[in-house]
C-alpha cells in the first residue's frame, strides 16, 4: 500500500519536473501555437493544413517576420483526442503564444475552446467546417474561417436553383462531422421547400453501400446530396451509385474536393458537382501555387494547404494591426478583420468578421466545380446569389 502511494508521489513529482512547459522568456520571437492530429483519424486532413501553416510561417519569416520579430510556430499533437486537445491548448497558453490554431477534428477544437475561453487566448480554426463550433459555446476569443457546412449547402442550393429539384436524397456517414454537416444540409433543404425522400447513413467500416443506395433508388429522387466526410465510405457510395444504375445528379460537400478521390474513386467521379473553396485561376491562388511549388521541390499544393496558409496569414495580419501580442488588442484586431483576400475562396471573396460574428469565411466565397472524368473541372458557379 505504501508502495503504491510512494510510487504515485514520486512519479508525479518527477513528471512535473520533466514536463516543464517552455516558459515564455524574453520575447524576441512571436509565438503562435498550432494543434494538429498526427496519429489519429483526422491525420489525413489535419497534416496538409498544418503543412500550409508551416509554409506560411516560413514565408513570413523570410520576408522579415512580424512586428520586426521572427515567428516561432509551436506545434502540438492532440492524437485526434478531444481531451488531449484541451491539454495541448493549456500547454500552448503556458508557453505564451499569441494565438492558437486548431486544425484537428471538430470535437477536439470544441474541447480546446474550454481552455481559450477560460484564459482569454485568441484561438481560431482555419479548416474545421462544423457550424456548432461558434454556437455551442459563446467564446469571444474563437474564430472560424473554415468552410461552414451551412455555407456549403447554401452554395450548392444556389447552383442547383435553376434545376428545380423537388425531392432529393441525403446521404452521410456516422462520423461526428458527417452528422453535423448532414444536420445543416437537411435544415437548408427543408427551408428551401425541397422534400427529402430518402435519408441514409453509411457507417464507418461498411463493406458496401448497396442497401442504402437501393433505398435511394426506390425513392426516386431528383438529385442526391452527399454530406459525409469519410473518404472510403464516400467511395463506396459512388461505386454503388454506378453499379445500381442511378443517373440523377449528385452534389457533394466540400470533402469531395480533396484530391485523394482522384485515385481511389477513379471512374466514379464524372459529373459529380462539389463545393470547393479553391479556385486555381484566382490570381492570389495562382501565386500561392507557384511559390509553394518552388519552396517544396515541385510539390503542388492543394486546397487543404491553402487553409493553413490563410489561417496563419489572417493571424499575422491581426497581430500586425494590433501592433502587439497583447491578447485583448489582438482579439479586437482579429474581430475587426474585414475584406482580407486570401488564397482560399472564389474570385472576389474575402474574409471578414463583420457585425460581431466569428465565422469569417465569406458566405459567398465557395465555388462549385464539376468533375470531368477524374479531374476537377473549372469553376462553374460562385457564391450563393
Amino acid at each position: 500500500m505504501k508502495q503504491a502511494i510512494l510510487a504515485v508521489a514520486r512519479s508525479v513529482l518527477a513528471t512535473a519536473v520533466v514536463l516543464a512547459a517552455p516558459v515564455a522568456m524574453a520575447q524576441n520571437t512571436i509565438r503562435i501555437g498550432m494543434i494538429t492530429d498526427r496519429v489519429g483519424p483526422a491525420k489525413g486532413y489535419a497534416e496538409p493544413v498544418a503543412a500550409g501553416a508551416v509554409y506560411a510561417v516560413k514565408e513570413l519569416n523570410a520576408k522579415g517576420g512580424l512586428l520586426g520579430k521572427q515567428i516561432e510556430l509551436l506545434v502540438e499533437d492532440d492524437q485526434g483526442k478531444p481531451d488531449v486537445s484541451a491539454s495541448m491548448a493549456r500547454k500552448l497558453v503556458d508557453s505564451g503564444v499569441a494565438f492558437i490554431l486548431s486544425v484537428s477534428l471538430t470535437p477536439a477544437t470544441q474541447q480546446a475552446q474550454s481552455v481559450t475561453l477560460e484564459t482569454g487566448t485568441p484561438h481560431m480554426t482555419p479548416s474545421n467546417s462544423g457550424d456548432t463550433l461558434t454556437t455551442q459555446v459563446t467564446n469571444p476569443n474563437f474564430w472560424q474561417t473554415g468552410p461552414l457546412g451551412s455555407t456549403q449547402i447554401a452554395t450548392l442550393l444556389s447552383y442547383a436553383r435553376d434545376k428545380n429539384f423537388q425531392k432529393v436524397a441525403l446521404i452521410t456517414d456516422n462520423s461526428d462531422l458527417g452528422q453535423l454537416i448532414n444536420r445543416f444540409f437537411k435544415g437548408a433543404l427543408e427551408k428551401a421547400d425541397i422534400q427529402i425522400v430518402s435519408e441514409e447513413v453509411v457507417p464507418r467500416g461498411s463493406t458496401t453501400a448497396d442497401p442504402q443506395i437501393q433505398k435511394v433508388r426506390a425513392a426516386n429522387p431528383d438529385a442526391i446530396f452527399l454530406a459525409g466526410v469519410l473518404t472510403p465510405e464516400n467511395a463506396l457510395i459512388l461505386r454503388s451509385y454506378r453499379q445500381l444504375g442511378l443517373k440523377m445528379p449528385v452534389l457533394g460537400n466540400y470533402n469531395f474536393s480533396i484530391p485523394v478521390y482522384g485515385s481511389i474513386a477513379k471512374g466514379l467521379l464524372n459529373g459529380l458537382a462539389f463545393v470547393d473553396a479553391f479556385d486555381p485561376a484566382k490570381p492570389q491562388t495562382r501565386q500561392f501555387i507557384e511559390d509553394y511549388k518552388k519552396a517544396n521541390n515541385g510539390t503542388e499544393p492543394y486546397n487543404l494547404n491553402g487553409y493553413g496558409y490563410d489561417g496563419i496569414m489572417l493571424v499575422a495580419d491581426a497581430i500586425k494591426r494590433a501592433g502587439s501580442t497583447d491578447k485583448d488588442k489582438v482579439r479586437e484586431a482579429m474581430q475587426a478583420t474585414t475584406g482580407y483576400q486570401g488564397v482560399m475562396g472564389g474570385v472576389g471573396s474575402s474574409y471578414g468578421f463583420s457585425d460581431g460574428k466569428r465565422t469569417g469565411f465569406d458566405p459567398n466565397g465557395m465555388v462549385v466545380r464539376v468533375y470531368e472524368g477524374d479531374v476537377q473541372g473549372k469553376v462553374v458557379h460562385v457564391g450563393v446569389k
Binding site: 502511494i5 499533437d77 481531451d83 484541451a86 470544441q110 459555446v137 459563446t138 461526428d176 452528422q179
Partner: protein, 310 residues
Amino acid sequence: MKSLAGFVFAALVLSAIAFMLGSYHTDVYRKLLLWITLALGYNFLFGIAGQVAFSHFTFYGIGAYAMVILLFQVGLPLPLAVVAGIIVCVVLALVVAIPATRLEGFYLALATLAFAQLFIVVLNEGGSVTGGAGGLANYRLPDIFGVRVTGPWYTVVIVFLMLGTLAVLWRLDRSWFGRACRAVRDDPQAAQAMGINITTTRIVAYAVTSALAGAAGMVYAFVDNTVNPPIFGLENSFLLLFMVIVGGSGRPAGAIVGAILLYLMPFFLSPLIGHHHALVFGVVMVAVVLFQPKGLIGIWDSWMARRRVS
C-alpha cells in the same frame, strides 16, 4: 491505523502538488489522476476478478453524461444529481452484469465490446438529450453551498476521488471478497466447492468497479466542461487494458505505474519522434507481455527482492 495515516499523508502531498502546478500541468495532472482511478478499478475487475471486460471506460462515459444530463436537463440539485448518477451507474452495471457474468472469458470481452459500441451509437442518436454527435458543452460546475469549486480545489476533489477509489478497492482486495474473486478467477469449480457463489461474486465485482468508473466519469464532466462521443470511444478501452497489463495486473501499484507510463508516454515521445509514438506503444506492449508478463511492477518487485536478499 497505519493505513489511515498513509492515506492522509498521500492526500496532503497530492493536494499540495495541485496548488503548485501551472494551468497546463494541472490539466495533465488531473487527467492523470482520473486515469489512475480508472486503472485501479480495471485492475480489480481484470486482474483480481479475472473478468476481461471492455466496458469499464464506457461506464466512465455513462457517469459523465449522466451527471451532465441530470444536472442540466433534468435540473436536479448537485447532491441529488450525484446520488442519482451513482444509482444510474449501478443499475446499468447490474443490467449488464447479470447476463454478462454468465459468459466466460472472451465471450464476456466481446459482449462488453458490443456494449461499448452500442453506447456510442446511443450517444450519437440521442438527439438533444445527449447532444448527438457533437456532445454537450457550455456548462459548468454549479456552486456548492455558494462556493465555486474551481482550479486547484477541483483537483483536490479528484485527488480524493482517486484515493477513495484506492481505499475501497484495497479494502475489498484484502477482505474475504477479494479472496473470493481470486478463487473464482483461478478455479471456479473449486471456489464453488468451497461454498462461494460464483455468480454473485462476479456480479458484485463488476457492479462495484463499474460504479466506481461511473463516479470518476461524473467528476470528469467538469474537467473540460465538455462531453462528446469521441472521448469515450473504443480506443481508450484498449488503452486501459494496456495500462493494467504493462503496469502489472492484480496489483494496485501496477495499475498506477501502468497508467502513469502509458498516459504520459505520448506527451514525452511526440516532441522527440513525432508521430511514431503510437508504434512505440505497440512495441512496448508486446515487449512487456513477452518478457515481463508480471508487468513493470514485476521488475520493481524483483529488484526489491534482490535488495532484501543482499
